[in-house]
């Protein structure tokens, strides 16, 4: 049997004072919030803050954080402020990419103390500028020219001397040696004149042989000399190359000595500078003025010196501080960086200077804050982040290359070691989903910081909340608030939460309300925000969003939607539902009806049959069915068929807050007792008929009140709510005033018996010692009807059986 908290005859409407929990402005001792010192905005979030502290200080692998909570709780700001307050334990580093002179496809990552990256870039650029002057000057010097000339002259002299000797020898052996366009011609002579073919034929055999032999000898010597020329040229080139290196080395010595002196503590940088120095030595012509540099059509000659640039990927402030990076658009490239390309001669080219940092680079040595839902919806971002955290290194790979979308040459830059805590912000749903579905998640995000949705509305917390409001106003340079305005905001905080005993930690809504109150205050030329301005902001918020509510109420007023608020009807009750429009929820009365016939005990939920009812609603109907079968005629099978429906409901119905209403409609139909349509009812129910708490109680009451008020309050109208919902009441002032004036009543009920008693005006009735309900009670009538239906069914079954047998 259900516990009867209130005797039916003692069921009284709630006093007006129970319908709204005021916040007394006298609670606050300040004149305006301008007098209050700022407060940490993480009010009531001790659990989350301690988790945050633990996660941040814990140094093992995978101690990254997932901050879970509702949207609008200002988690990000709270996390950021917490991180800002930390004293850095380790100094973050600058990171640069420089050319790998040995293998350009694999740029080298350099780690430098904070602020040194830019210094290195400027220092190297200055040295390159210096070399652009020093190297050409060295090569234009008389000293260099003379040395080149000496080398050239030496080889020319050797060549000339050889040719002179050959020519002398040729003359001695009656051979002519002359240059041709492609080499040298050799021909026999006599007395300084060419020997014609006829004259040759006239020679004796011995002379012919001698001449031929001389020709062959000269040819052989000439060939031998010409064949050694390439080797001479090679020797000359090598000597010039060595000279060039020597001259370059001399020209660059001082600039490099000065440059390296600044980085003696950084061996990686020294290695780079040494590699750069070697490369400069090998490519001195690149430092010649552009017009004298060999160029390829379409290629920018200035690019050749870009290989000496320092690409400062991440620059940290020299004065220190932990990098705290929030990446609002966590795409793959925004996280891991990108390698850009440049079109050149129809192809895409790239080098280390086109490597761009990602959020992980910027946050290295500190903290990276990401929105989990955005991260998970960006292709490849989540998996890449996990891989990076597992590897503890940022490895840049072009996504195009990974997916084989581009075939152009790309880079394989050095990985950069990662020392970074990643903090994901997400909903609880997402957190539990990741826990369930991603085995890596627990490995990498071991700390959950769970933000509270609400805090108790204790006196201390109210004072603290007042300071929080003051802080939010100050940070946005809003007008100061009076105590009454603060009190009104606190009341609204409870109302937003739908709980008079709690305060919302969804600070975004509170901030918005303060901001909008500031607007109304300034519009009224006030230098402080008063309660009126807060109320104006609340009213305006509702007004902006309640077009749909107005339309639905109009439809009820015009009887397009049938809601009876005056008469009595059998099997019909006013239920209450809540429509959620995102930033506005409102209540709406709904007619629920029940029909009963002879049957096999089945209750048809028309909503479920038409697939408009959700599973929780269906569960409620099944509980209802269970309640009826266990409460009435327990020794007989149920022999009725009932149907339940939300009239004129064309959308989905979900939730079990109509279970009490549906039960009452069914009992009314079975007992054939009319229900007062002046009342509406909401509440869940268990199998024993006990009323259970529901959500949106304020909106539901106000929804019925608005319909009644628009038709004129009759004084006998009201709403039945589960007694456990009383603590949630934060009703609108007009509802409270109507209740105070006895024009509208809110009844707290504990059981379905109390509900049906109030709705019908007839006692529900309790079983006597014989186990029987009083005949005139609702329950007695219901049981009697069920017995009748059972008898009818038995007779019907018997007649059918007889019919078959005959």
């Amino acid at each position: 049997m259900p516990t009867d908290k209130f005797a039916t005859d003692r069921l009284q409407p709630l006093a007006a004072e129970s319908l709204y929990k005021h916040c007394d402005p006298k609670t606050f001792s300040f004149g305006t919030t301008a007098e209050l010192a700022e407060l940490d905005i993480a009010v009531g979030q001790q659990r989350a803050l301690s988790a945050l502290e633990f996660g941040v200080r814990m140094t093992g692998d995978g101690y990254n954080l997932f901050v879970l909570g509702r949207d609008g709780s200002l988690r990000r700001r709270i996390v950021q402020e917490y991180l800002d307050s930390l004293k850095p334990e380790t100094a973050p580093s600058d990171w640069c990419y420089v050319n790998n002179f040995a293998e350009e496809r694999k740029p080298v990552a350099l780690r430098l103390p904070a602020g040194k990256g830019t210094k290195l870039r400027l220092d190297v650029a200055n040295v390159v500028d210096e070399l652009l002057a020093a190297i050409p000057a060295a090569f234009e010097s008389e000293h260099y020219r003379n040395q080149i000339a000496e080398i050239t002259q030496e080889y020319e002299e050797r060549h000339r001397a050889t040719m002179d000797a050959l020519q002398e020898e040729a003359q001695q052996h009656d051979v002519s040696l002359v240059p041709t366009p492609h080499g040298f011609a050799i021909a026999p002579t006599r007395d300084g004149k060419l020997l014609s073919d006829d004259d040759f034929e006239k020679l004796s055999d011995k002379e012919k042989a001698s001449t031929t032999k001389a020709m062959e000898a000269m040819t052989a010597k000439l060939r031998a000399h010409i064949e050694e020329l390439p080797e001479w040229h090679k020797q000359r080139r090598e000597r010039i190359k060595a000279l060039n290196r020597e001259v370059t080395e001399l020209a660059i010595r001082n600039p490099f000595v000065e440059l390296t002196a600044s980085y003696t503590e950084l061996p990686d940088v020294l290695r780079f500078l040494e590699a750069m120095r070697e490369d400069v030595l090998a490519h001195a012509p690149d430092f010649q003025p552009e017009e004298s540099r060999p160029t390829v059509l379409g290629l920018d000659p200035a690019r050749s010196l870009q290989r000496y640039q320092v690409n400062v990927l991440v620059e940290q402030p020299e004065e220190g501080g932990v990098p705290i990076v929030y990446e609002g658009n966590p795409t793959y490239q925004n996280l891991l960086g990108r390698i850009e390309h440049l079109p050149q001669l129809g192809a895409l080219v790239t080098d280390f200077s086109m490597i761009r940092p990602g959020a992980l680079h910027r946050a290295n040595g500190g903290y990276l804050i990401l929105d989990a839902d955005r991260l998970l919806t960006e292709p490849y971002a989540w998996n890449s982040l996990k891989r990076t955290l597992f590897e503890k290194a940022i490895r840049m790979e072009s996504l195009g290359q990974q997916l084989s979308l581009v075939t152009t040459v790309s880079l394989e830059p050095d990985s950069i070691p990662l020392h970074c805590k990643v903090i994901l912000l997400g909903s609880r749903f997402l957190y539990f989903l990741l826990c369930e579905l991603d085995p890596d998640f627990h490995e990498l995000f071991k700390v959950a910081a769970d933000f509270e949705n609400r805090i108790d509305r204790t006196d201390d917390n109210v004072v603290l909340y007042g300071r929080l409001i003051a802080t939010l106003a100050k940070r946005e340079a809003l007008l100061p608030l009076t105590p009454s305005a603060v009190a009104r905001i606190i009341e609204q905080s409870s109302r937003l939460l739908g709980d008079a005993e709690k305060l919302s930690t969804r600070l975004r809504d509170v901030s918005d309300l303060i901001r909008e109150s500031d607007y109304w205050a300034r519009r009224a030329d006030s230098d402080t925000i008063h309660a009126d301005h807060v109320q104006a902001a609340i009213d305006a918020q509702i007004h902006r969003l309640d077009r749909l509510r107005s339309e639905m109420h109009e439809a009820i007023h015009r009887d397009d939607i049938l809601i009876d608020t005056r008469q009595t009807k059998v099997g019909q009750v006013n239920g209450l539902s809540v429509i959620d429009l995102g930033r506005l929820s409102f209540g709406q009365p709904t007619r629920i009806t029940a029909n009963v016939n002879i049957g096999d005990g089945k209750i048809v939920d028309i909503e479920r049959e038409t697939e408009l009812g959700g599973p929780i609603h269906s569960k409620g109907v099944l509980i209802l069915s269970s309640y009826v079968s266990s409460r009435f005629a327990p020794e007989r099978p149920l022999s009725f068929a009932a149907s339940l429906v939300f009239e004129q409901s064309y959308g989905g119905v979900e939730g079990d807050s109509a279970t009490l209403a549906e039960t009452c409609a069914l009992l009314s139909a079975l007992a054939n007792v009319p229900i007062r349509q002046t009342l509406a009812i909401t509440g869940s129910m268990n199998q024993h008929g006990t009323a259970q708490v529901i959500g949106g109680v304020n909106e539901k009451i106000e929804g019925f009140f608005d319909v009644c008020k628009s038709r004129g309050l009759s004084g006998d109208q009201g709403v039945l709510i589960p007694v456990d919902n009383v603590k949630h009441l934060m009703l609108r002032s007009d509802v409270v005033e109507a209740a105070r004036a006895g024009q509208f009543a809110i009844y707290p009920i504990a059981t379905v018996d109390q509900a049906i008693t109030l709705l019908t005006g007839i006692d529900a009735g309790q079983r006597d010692r014989d186990g029987l309900f009083p005949d005139d009670s609702i329950n007695g009538r219901v049981e009697k009807r069920l017995v009748e239906l059972a008898e009818l069914r038995r007779e019907f079954d018997q007649s059918r059986k007889d019919g078959f047998e005959s």
């Binding site: 008389e142 020219r145 003379n146 000339a149 002259q153 080889y155 020319e156 002299e157 060549h159 000339r160 050889t162 040719m163 002179d164 020519q167 002519s176 040696l177 002359v178 240059p179 041709t180 366009p181 492609h182 080499g183 040298f184 011609a185 050799i186 021909a187 026999p188 060419l194 020997l195 014609s196 073919d197 040759f200 001449t211 031929t212 020709m215 040819t219 000439l222 060939r223 010409i226 064949e227 020329l229």
Partner: protein, 285 residues
Amino acid sequence: MLTEADDARRAIIVALDPVAPGSVGLELLRDVVIGRDRLLLGLFIEDTDLLAHAQCRLATEVVLSGAARPLDSARLEGQLHAQSAAIRQIFEREATRLGLPHTFRTRRGPLVSELAGAAAGADLLVIELARLAAGAQSIWVRQLEQLCRAELPNVLYAREGWATGSTVLAIIDDPADVETSGLAAVRLARAGNIALTLLLGEESQTHSAEIEATLRQYGLETVVRVERLRTVDASAPVLAALAQAENARALVAPRHVTRGNAGLVRELLRLTRCSVMIASSSPSN
């Protein structure tokens, strides 16, 4: 372009390198020609002595790859024609770029006599040696030594790197040389806006003041140095050492210095990097 009918007496002849096309001669002609309103005549000589070699059955050509092959007459003719065309193209392009009035001729005949004939009455004969390999240069210059015996205008053996060097050396062996090598050197120095160093022979040394004064009249503002040398010292090694010490762009010698020493030019070209000018015996205008 001017035609062959133009007055060749006013021409400056450029005997373009018969072995390899080049344009160094033009580079320096910009210095010496501009402002003198002279016709520039490019001359390519198809040397009949060379062609005669090709008529000889035993003649062999050793090409620069080291291969030896019979010297074929038709092939040689073709090579010379191709070379002439290439040189002409370069010459006309460069002369046009420099804004010099010019014409181009290809002549066939013995090299020296063709050169001497073409240069007779001209202002200046430039023999371009820029791109010649040292071996070919040596042979060619040896052939041109015969020019020293002819009465020719100023003959300039032009070397690569004309624009380098910071001074012009002028040998004034005799006071009368002021009007020949002196004047030619002044023109080169003034055109290049560089200094002039006088190398005074024994006979000139007593007239150095007058010589300097005369040269200043020709417009040379600065004579940076006056070296004194005896005629007997004017050997190729001494002159070459001076040219190197002075970083000379050109060395200008009076023709009579070469009369008794036909190999002087060849030696100077061997020992120095600067260009060499043999000044005409008669004063140039």
